[in-house]
């Protein structure tokens, strides 16, 4: 599959962009030209040669904080996507095979999770589990999982009635074997698209929750430059306005 993606020019471009993001997440803190926590008298400065993206209200270099914080944001969004994948995909595939009772319960749970108010629920659960990025992202992952449940279920339904799945069934293959050999390969492409979409959502969610004071705590840097109390100064700084998020 990876080979197939790399044969397309758009695929190569996407892999290139992703590689840069991953490299920045790994090497970000090392590449930062300034100490991301180091303050200076030069506050709310605009972009300049010394501070590419300017400085914030405490005189900290925004570019260094962005590089240092990208790891937290990338890891957070990947955690959201992987938890959503694990919680959503397996029940989505099995709901087609394990009978009406399992299907009914999993569909109702997915509907309920969709109906929950996203941020309020995330705030409530992190209050219960303790404030931190892993807890917050776990909650968000569970809330996003209905997307994966529905995508996996729809893709499985399309395959489940196919003749080659019936042929496997007639050979005595178990549900697990059918899911592994025949269904998973067909479910993977739409799930991969949902995964990419969720990682993007994850970036915004890490920023949103940090803005609300959940997850990353000041003065630790994240991809979200405009987190409190910096947010109040965002409108007055050209640098922060231009690069409010990773």
């Amino acid at each position: 599959m990876v080979r197939r993606v790399l044969t397309l020019p758009t695929g190569r471009l996407a892999v290139g962009i992703l590689s840069v993001i991953v490299l920045l997440a790994i090497l970000g803190p090392t590449l930062a030209p300034h100490d991301p926590l180091g303050t200076s008298a030069l506050t709310l400065a605009g972009p300049a040669w010394e501070h590419w993206l300017g400085t914030d209200y405490l005189g900290r270099d925004v570019f260094s904080r962005l590089l240092a914080g990208s790891r937290t944001s990338v890891l957070g969004s990947v955690e959201v996507a992987l938890i959503a994948l694990a919680v959503g995909v397996v029940p989505g595939i099995l709901s087609v095979y394990l009978g009406r009772v399992f299907e009914w319960f999993t569909r109702r749970i997915a509907d309920t999770l969709i109906a929950l108010p996203f941020l309020i629920y995330a705030v409530a659960v992190t209050a219960l589990l303790g404030n931190g990025i892993p807890q917050a992202m776990f909650t968000v992952g569970v809330l996003v999982s209905p997307l994966f449940y529905r995508v996996a279920r729809a893709a499985t339904l399309a395959v489940a009635r196919s003749q080659y799945v019936e042929a496997a069934l007639i050979s005595g293959a178990s549900v697990g074997r059918i899911a592994r050999r025949h269904v998973w390969g067909k479910v993977l492409p739409p799930v991969a698209v949902a995964l990419a979409q969720t990682i993007g959502i994850g970036f915004v969610v890490v920023s949103s929750l940090s803005f609300l004071g959940i997850g990353v705590q000041p003065p630790a840097p994240t991809g979200a430059v405009c987190s409190p109390p910096t947010s109040a100064t965002c409108p007055t700084s050209r640098g922060l306005r231009s690069f409010p998020r990773f």
Binding site: Q163, A167, A168, L169, S171, G172, A173
Partner: protein
């Protein structure tokens, strides 16, 4: 496996309904048929007559609402899904679908599709590949096709692979649902030749078709299914030369290759009027 003379398949008074309550619709009614080892039975009927439903009931894919089905001596009418899986793993019955492209997983190579039933049975991979190659040769295909994907093969090659996949577990009964209707005339003849050879190996075959011409040269007996009931069951020669039920007469009369039994247009219209009456 059954011994000679004992039916591989015995169906008694089979009833199948689809839908619930007011939408409940009878698809098969009082269907009885027995097939012994080495015998080929052709099931003929028009679209919607219940041919595929009959096959699916024998395979346990559709639940019977009445009657009983004995497969290799076992009453499978009330089998649970677990019992069905155990029975299928023994490879007693196999199925060949009408559309050879859709019956093979497009992402699996010929090898993987062909040996899957053997791997499910617990046969070691190396032995399964060996057996798969033998059966590929038996359906007159080049073993080099083993690494190809279904999309790289012709319709005839794909259907031969589907037949080989049904054969590989050495089943007592193979149900072929319109196996040649999606094929061109050259491939059709090739598949029918393979089926004739199969008949001689002792496996029981049920050949489902709407085309009497395809079945006539292969089947020992023919069962005519009309509106969910077997209206005529008899030796192939008898049904073709001396059809008794109006629908069987219409079928024979409509077959262009059976010149001796063909009816002219006026006779066919008279038979249709008789059926509708």
């Amino acid at each position: 496996m059954s011994t000679d003379g004992r039916p591989v398949l015995q169906v008694d008074d089979l009833e199948i309904h689809y839908g619930l309550r007011r939408r409940r619709r009878r698809v098969l009614h009082g269907v009885s048929l027995s097939v012994t080892r080495g015998e080929t039975v052709g099931v003929i009927g028009e679209t919607g007559s219940g041919k595929s439903t009959f096959a699916r009931a024998v395979l346990g894919l559709v639940r019977a609402s009445g009657g009983r089905i004995l497969l290799d001596g076992e009453d499978v009418s009330r089998y649970s899904p677990r019992q069905w899986r155990a029975l299928r793993r023994r490879g007693v019955v196999q199925y060949v679908f009408q559309d050879p492209l859709r019956s093979l997983d497009p992402d699996l190579t010929v090898e993987e599709s062909l040996i899957e039933p053997l791997l499910v049975q617990g046969v070691a991979r190396k032995e399964a590949i060996e057996r798969g190659r033998n059966y590929l040769a038996r359906v007159r295909l080049d073993p080099e096709l083993f690494d190809r994907l279904p999309g790289e093969l012709s319709g005839g090659q794909r259907q031969r692979i589907a037949v080989a996949r049904a054969l590989v577990t050495e089943p007592a009964l193979i149900i072929l649902d319109e196996p040649v209707s999606a094929l061109g005339s050259a491939n059709r003849v090739g598949i029918l030749e393979i089926l004739k050879e199969l008949r001689d190996t002792g496996v029981a075959l049920i050949f489902i078709s709407h085309d009497l011409g395809s079945v006539a040269g292969v089947a020992d007996r023919i069962a005519v299914l009309y509106q969910g009931e077997f209206v005529e069951v008899g030796a192939a020669r008898e049904v073709i030369n001396n059809p008794r039920h109006p629908y069987a007469r219409l079928l024979v009369g409509s077959a262009p290759t059976l010149r001796s039994a063909s009816a002219d247009r006026a006779q066919r219209e008279a038979l249709r009027a008789l059926l509708h009456a």
